[in-house]
Symmetry: C2
Subunit: 226 residues, 2 copies
């Protein structure tokens, strides 16, 4: 199905504001929209990467096969690009993307995307800035993951959901206990134990997947100190 509405939806994006109308039309002609249900794979690790994906709505988890188990690298929330590093950096996807909420996305052919970069330096520049910011965030995420104990790692992720995904101190966890374990690299059981322990201490309240942060400053302290 072909989309001619790129100029409408893409203009919302920070990065795409640098494209002019004719450029957006080029994009529109080679842009294919698709929707994904929760749990569906958008692209798969080790498959050939030939598209840049613009995530219009929804929430996605990026997963990579580690030496021991699957690791959830991060979540990606619309609107944003999906698969930039893996499509531009390698022929083959270095990680998978799976919808964890209903997703609508636009598949842009890699050659069309590359051409946009070539004809529009401002667009290139914005992409460079975005890549740099992502790398910095990735450094910080990695260091926290490696150095903190599980209490701190889990606390950090609860704050990440609140501040960066939902912009609310009360939210429904987008992941199961087992997926959270894949994100903070621990066992399913330990996630249960620590969530319940944080609730017992009055720092959060839990009811199934519903989470409410009650004592944010303490949660931040746990996240920072380990």
């Amino acid at each position: 199905m072909e989309s001619s509405g790129c100029s409408i939806c893409l203009l919302k994006s920070e990065v795409v504001k640098d494209l002019d109308t004719s450029e957006l039309n080029t994009l529109g002609k080679s842009c294919v929209e698709a929707v994904f249900k929760k749990g569906e794979t958008i692209f798969k690790q080790n498959a050939l990467s030939s598209n840049i994906i613009y995530l219009q709505t929804g929430l996605v988890k990026l997963m990579i096969e580690g030496p021991q188990r699957i690791q959830i690298l991060r979540l990606k929330k619309a609107p944003c690009y999906l698969g930039l590093p893996t499509t531009m950096g390698d022929k083959i996807n270095n990680y998978s993307a799976v919808a964890i909420e209903p997703v609508s996305a636009c598949f842009i052919d890699i050659n069309v995307f590359k051409n946009l970069l070539r004809i529009n330096p401002d667009f290139s520049y914005e992409i460079i800035i975005e890549l740099c910011k992502n790398e910095l965030k990735q450094f910080h995420r990695c260091v926290k993951l490696v150095q903190n104990e599980i209490y701190g790692r889990l606390a950090g992720n609860l704050l990440y959901f609140a501040d960066e995904i939902y912009q609310s101190q009360e939210y429904k966890l987008p992941l199961s206990r087992s997926e959270i374990a894949d994100m903070v690299c621990t066992s399913r059981e330990t996630v249960s134990r620590i969530l319940n322990s944080l609730a017992k201490d009055g720092i959060i309240s839990i009811s199934g997947k519903q989470i409410k942060i009650l004592n944010k400053s303490l949660l931040e302290k746990i996240s920072e100190k380990g």
Copy 2:
């Protein structure tokens, strides 16, 4: 001290081959060379970032303050750019760079660099590719660091030195045991123990900082399986 030799030294770089002579001259006029001894800081975390640095010769460690301790993110070997993500991605350095071998480097003003990106789309494109490749590598490094046990992490780093830094199965460790601990996120003592254990098993030989990989396939197996 002003350098007019950019066109000579920079042309060796993959990325810079896309600049033409007049662009290289612009670069040369605003380029300041500097040398650093082992142990000297090239740029410091939390300081204002206003330069892109082209590393001409030498070896550098990138260090970031974690919640518990200093973490060595990776080494950077000349010729390459230094500080791209932190200079383009934030006003302030998100990590430090310290010479671990004598270094000569060229400091390029950020505005001059940005202008080069703007006037030369091929150059932008190469930078984008480099950033993407770096991010993919960082993903893999992070997952190994988080999931593997120390044997695997240390084995991985011995291979990293051999294959990516020295291109030789025999080399002098560029870091102390304590710095290696900062790289694989363990204690100084554990690094000692495991290096000696690998030597006792005949997988490597050690004499001070001199390392020789004797059984590479086994070391690779340890690195991959944990």
